[in-house]
Every structure is written in C-alpha cells, then in structure tokens.
C-alpha cells in the first residue's frame, strides 16, 4: 500500500516547521515517529497534501527533569519510558505502563508526544497524561500555550491542538510521595488495542487504614481516556478494604462509555473495567504497604 501524493518537508528548526504549518493550515500533518500516521497515509484514510517531518529538529529530542517531574520533547521516543533513568526515578508508573504500549519496534520509533497528539482512545499515553495531570505545550508560529490533560482530549483523535500548532512538550509532574500507582490492561494479544485498561492511583491517611485520595482513569472504553470521579469518591474516606474496592469497581463500570465492536461487547468491557479496577487497587495498595 502506498500513500496518496503529498508534499514532504523536513525543516531543521521549529520556526521553519511552524511557518509551514501556518501556510498549509488544515491540509497538513506533522510526522514524528509515524507509527500511527504512516498506516493512515498508506491506507489512504488520511490524505493531507503536506507532511511536515520534524525528525531533524534536534532541539525537540529530550527528556529532562522538570520541578519534581519530567519534561518530554516532541521527539522523545516511547522507548525512553523504559530506558531513561530520570523517568524511572521520578514517574515510575510511566516505565511500568510502557510494557503495554505496542511492541519494541513501535516504541523505538513512536514518540510520547505523538501518541498524545494522536489521541487514540485505546492508547496508554493519553490515559497516563490524564491520570497524572500532565500539561501540554502547544506551540504555533505566533505563541505557545499550556493546556491541561483534561481540556486537551476532546473526542476520538480530536484534541485541543489547532491546525497550526505542534505539541512541542508534555510535562508529567511527579506523583505525590504518599501515593502508589498501578496500570493494567486487557487485550486479545499483547500489543493490540486495549479492550479496556486502567491507571489507578491510591494514597492513604497517616493511619495507613483509610483512603485519602484516589485516581481512576480508564482507556479503550469511550471517546477519550475517562476519569471516573464517582468511583474515586466511592473510595475516599473508606477503609482500604475489598468492600470499598468493590464499590469503586461497580461505580466505574457505570461511569465509562464503552462501545460494541468485533473485539468485545459493551457489557464485557464494563465487566472488564470493574475487574481491572479491583486488581489495580489491590496492586496499588500492595505497593503502599511495601513503601
């Protein structure tokens, strides 16, 4: 399969790339790792007239410490999630979640920012961004703006990014010291799109019995990653016991918005989300007791 004809640019600076985007607004796609865009082009599901390849803009290739957390440039590969020491130290859940992202070949090319900008509802990185309150920098030729994860993801493959903007940086803050996180996902084969997945965060009161805070974010079960606040509320103030986890699981299965497809029915996805909720909370609690 070959893509439809397009004009290809490979600018050497961010300014140059942004000017190109400005000139070809709306008819232009940014190419970074290409792990989603290339199949779309080859299958001719996306037919932009212009492709702007940002791989030669060296200033965008970085992972660096930022406050307590990390800042990730537009060209940092998903592989960095598994190899970068700063990430492993500061936001270890990112390292853990990388295991679920596709396959090694794809992680070696695919970028962290690219997955977030693509906003596939079944992808791990958008859910991680939402769970960890990541902030995105959206840069155009005229200005740069910061958008939080909650406002960033709008629908299937649809984000706050305007046609003349590049997602130049994502910042993941370090999760609070008293919290523990876990990630789980069910798919038919490893690396397939998630049937359902969860990122769960848990923090206990100083007595180590009662739940102080909880964060529950699901993917593969709606148009965007979905945070289910009602399920979090079912946990906060409760003893960290199976009964509270069960209540959260029931609430979560109602708070998501899954669809039927050839991989799984809506009901099955709700059931999987409930089961994953309990497993993820047990795993997070286990990590807290080991802390």
């Amino acid at each position: 399969m070959k893509p439809a004809k397009f004009d290809y640019y490979d600018p050497r600076s961010l300014e140059e790339a942004l000017t190109l985007l400005d000139t070809h607004q709306g008819d232009c796609k940014v190419l970074a790792g290409g792990q989603s865009l290339m199949p779309l082009l080859n299958m001719r599901l996306a037919r932009p007239n212009v492709v702007v390849d940002i791989n030669r803009i060296k200033e965008l290739n970085y992972v660096r410490p930022n406050d307590g957390g990390i800042a990730v440039g537009a060209l940092a590969r998903q592989r960095a999630l598994q190899t970068d020491k700063v990430i492993a130290e500061r936001v270890p859940i990112l390292q853990e979640a990388a295991y679920y992202i596709a396959h090694p070949q794809i992680r070696s090319r695919g970028t962290i920012c690219g997955s977030i900008a693509h906003a596939d509802p079944a992808a791990e990185l958008p859910a991680l961004a939402l769970a960890l309150d990541a902030e995105m920098t959206l840069t155009s030729a005229k200005a740069a703006r910061t958008v939080g994860a909650e406002a960033f993801f709008q629908s299937f493959f649809t984000t706050a990014l305007a046609a003349n903007e590049i997602l130049t940086e994502v910042r993941f803050p370090a999760p609070p010291k008293d919290s523990a996180w876990s990630v789980l996902e069910i798919s038919r084969r490893h690396g397939d799109f998630a049937i359902a997945g969860i990122i769960a965060g848990l923090a206990l009161e100083p007595d180590r019995q009662v739940i102080r805070r909880a964060r529950l974010v699901y993917f593969g079960v709606g148009p965007t990653p979905i945070r289910v606040k009602a399920a979090e509320d079912a946990l906060i103030g409760q003893a960290a016991l199976e009964s509270a986890f069960e209540a959260a699981a029931q609430s979560a299965s109602q708070g998501i918005d899954p669809s039927n497809d050839i991989h799984a029915s809506e009901e099955y996805r709700r059931a999987v989300a409930a089961t994953l909720t309990k497993r993820a909370l047990r795993a997070a609690l286990q990590k807290l007791t080991e802390k």
């Binding site: 865009l37 996306a46 693509h118 649809t158 918005d257």
Partner: protein, 106 residues
C-alpha cells in the same frame, strides 16, 4: 459529502433519499455512498410522537453497513463515532428549536 474524525477523512459520493414520507410524523432516510476509503450504506427512521403538553419526542433508529479499508481498520470506532454524530444531530436540533422559540415569542 465529507465525513471525518481527526486526521481520518473520507469523501463519499452517493445518494441520500427520503422515503415513506408521512409529514408531520415520520420518514425513512436512505444513504448510499462510496469513496476511496470504502462504502457506506445505511437507513434510518425518524418518528415524531406527541407527548404530554406541547412536547414532541423524536425517535431515531437505524442500521448501517460499512465496508472497505475503513471498515477493516476503523471497526472498533464505528459505534462510538455513530453515537457522537447522533449527539451532534440532537444538539443541533435543540439549538434550532430554541432559536425558533425565541423568535416566535418576540
């Protein structure tokens, strides 16, 4: 007709026809189209029903078939996107009804 979500866009050429028109109660809408990404065929029935007071309930039901590359790759998204498009339809209608009501009360 151009339909798209995010970077995935398709242009379809075909026919949209209304059948079994029974104003002001119901009609059947039939859509047939094809394009580079595949084909779509669908039909839906829209029924208006008197409710208590001066309210009208709008019932929409339909069935669709999609084939080609788009179907192979996008299957997992169809139902969600269909839900979203129906949501847009109802939102659009709501705002038009509200606008008309405002005009008539002036």
């Amino acid at each position: 007709m151009e339909v798209g979500i995010g970077p995935i866009k398709g242009t379809f050429h075909g026919k949209i026809s209304m059948k079994e028109k029974a104003p002001p109660r119901s009609y059947r809408l039939i859509v047939e189209g094809s394009g580079a990404a595949g084909f779509v065929r669908g039909e839906g029935t829209l029924t208006l029903q008197d409710e208590a007071g001066d309210q009208t309930a709008v019932h929409v039901s339909g069935d669709g078939q999609v084939g080609g590359v788009m179907a192979g790759v996008g299957q997992r998204l169809f139902e969600g996107v269909a839900k979203q498009l129906m949501g847009q339809f109802f939102q659009c209608m709501q705002s038009r009804v509200a606008a008309r009501r405002e005009n008539s009360s002036v």
